[in-house]
């Protein structure tokens, strides 16, 4: 028999497609402010753009918590699916909900940076390193929602992750190597940037792996 994972992913996307569409629309609006606005409006646009990226990471989490809260988990788990397959499907659907609009918005932002003469292309590596942080935040909250199955833990994690963004961004900006080449007319992927990206991708892989591992060791699903 075929795996049910694609069917479960499709189901989640059918029910929640409106959130990523809204996020892309809002993100485009923020980028438009950034592009067309005067300097203060432009800065507001940039801040709004990152807020959209952060919020994008929160919505899939609600999808996971609702499965338990609205008592539809028993319906899904009565289908021919194991706990690990359910987790993989949820993670993939949530990832799709986040990743597609995230990628689209990042691509649009990069396009704007490349096409404007006011912003040097040297900012691209830093922008990329910063834009990966909401992806990590999303994975942390999603994994906790799947593994912990607790509203309290999910909400605490969501709050902690959202609060931590400002600290993490400030800390990242304080790393001299990351800012060294932002004024360059071409992107410079220096050692510090590559190390930061390596750490971020390592964290992403670890979260993915540990979520699936912990879910496979669970003994009770309902």
């Amino acid at each position: 028999m075929n795996s049910l994972i694609p069917a479960l992913i499709r189901k989640d996307l059918q029910m929640t497609w409106v959130f990523p569409v809204l996020a892309v629309a809002t993100g485009c609006g923020a980028l438009a402010l950034f592009w067309f606005g005067s300097q203060p409006v432009s800065i507001s646009g940039m801040v709004a753009f990152f807020i959209v990226l952060v919020m994008l990471g929160v919505t899939p989490n609600v999808l996971i918590m609702n499965e338990r809260k609205k008592q539809t988990l028993a319906f899904v788990m009565s289908l021919p699916v194991s706990g690990s397959q359910y987790a993989l499907a949820k993670l993939a659907a949530a990832f799709g909900m986040f990743f597609v609009p995230w990628l689209l918005l990042i691509a649009l932002a990069l396009l704007l940076i490349v096409s404007t003469s006011e912003m040097p292309n040297g900012v691209i590596p830093l922008f990329f390193a910063l834009a990966l942080l909401p992806l990590i935040g999303f994975l942390v909250t999603t994994s906790v929602a799947i593994v912990a199955e607790s509203d309290t833990w999910s909400n605490v994690t969501m709050g902690a992750v959202n609060i931590s963004y400002s600290f993490v961004w400030i800390s990242v900006m304080a790393v001299p190597g990351l800012l060294a080449d932002v004024g360059s007319p071409v992107p410079v992927w220096n050692e510090t940037i590559l190390t930061a990206l390596g750490i971020e991708f390592g964290v992403i892989a670890t979260i993915f792996g540990s979520t699936l591992y912990l879910q496979s060791r669970k003994r009770d699903f309902i």
């Binding site: 028999m1 049910l4 069917a7 189901k11 059918q14 029910m15 609205k70 008592q71 539809t72 028993a74 319906f75 788990m77 009565s78 289908l79 021919p80 699916v81 194991s82 397959q85 003994r219 009770d220 699903f221 309902i222």
Partner: protein, 292 residues
């Protein structure tokens, strides 16, 4: 199920043995918190047992839960469908998963249950939601139906409709049903096998007719000063002044004779309902547990 145990902080499922032959309907009766839902969830691989063997339709559980669940239809009182989606969406979703989905039968059930596929689940009454859930599992023609208190909270008409449909479904002799409830009337109507569970232990299991045949209540008049003997097969003997009631779990025609020999005058021998048998069995089991 053989020797299945599951321990929680405040509850233990203890050494559960359960057999459901193909084509039979087993009524699984127990008070609230007896372990019915835990047993059922272990059966479906949703909860992993600490000890013991579970085989469902030839599949070992929980390791082969995915293969087993292709042929199991499960509905429970606390199971909900997606409120924002329509019943028709749920039907298409299930049909896309199960190759055996019977569209004609699904449409028959829609009509029989008075359901509208375009309606969102949010707008359905409790009875309609239960019917919708049953439609989704019946139309995929599973070999085993596991129903965990499906009639709880339903009005008598809806209960009757659902029970009638279940009876029709199990006319197909290859299909088995495990039906848990504390509504003994529902179970008495449709089951041919009965299992009682209390405080995490199976306290009795046999076919329904044997239960109804073997259990009797004997009402007697006893002359003052006469002490009735404890006879084999009597689970309870209540004596109040000149009146005595003996509850027999293994009634034999020589039982009234034995009481009459002891000086009692048998007034009436009554059959017992499944509910009365269940209550008597639970009380007996708890007394035995207390004295052990």
């Amino acid at each position: 199920m053989r020797g299945v145990c599951k321990t929680y902080r405040f509850f233990m499922l203890n050494d559960v043995d359960l057999d459901l032959p193909a084509g039979h309907i087993m009524g699984f009766i127990g008070p609230n918190g007896a372990g019915k839902s835990t047993t059922i969830r272990i059966l479906l691989g949703l909860i992993h047992q600490d000890r013991g063997d579970v085989q469902v339709l030839g599949h070992r559980m929980p390791s082969e839960e995915v293969a087993a669940k292709w042929d199991i239809g499960f509905a429970s009182e606390d199971m909900r469908l997606y409120e924002v989606m329509t019943l028709g969406w749920h039907m298409r979703f299930i049909a896309s998963i199960y190759p055996a989905w019977d569209r004609t039968y699904a449409e028959t059930l829609l009509e029989r249950f008075g359901l509208v596929p375009e309606q969102k689940v949010r707008g359905l009454s409790h009875g309609q939601r239960v019917k919708a859930g049953l439609l989704l599992i019946l139309a995929r023609r599973p070999r085993l139906l596991v129903l965990d208190e499906p009639t709880t909270g339903l009005d008598p008409v809806a209960r009757h409709e659902i029970l009638r449909e279940l009876v029709a479904v199990v006319r197909d002799e290859g299909r088995s049903v495990l039906f848990s409830s504390h509504h003994t009337q529902d179970i008495e109507q449709i089951s041919d096998q009965i299992t009682f569970i209390d405080r995490g232990r199976i306290i009795d299991s046999m076919d329904k007719e044997s239960y109804l045949d073997r259990w009797r209540r004997v009402r007697m008049e006893v002359p003052s000063g006469t002490r009735l003997p404890t006879l084999p097969g009597i689970v309870k003997l209540q004596q109040n002044g000149r009146l005595a009631i003996a509850t027999a779990s293994a009634f034999q025609p020589d039982l009234p004779v034995a009481y009459e020999s002891a000086g009692a005058r048998v007034q009436r021998i009554e059959t017992m309902t499944l509910e009365e048998i269940f209550v008597a069995k639970v009380e007996q089991s708890r007394e035995e547990e207390a004295t052990a």
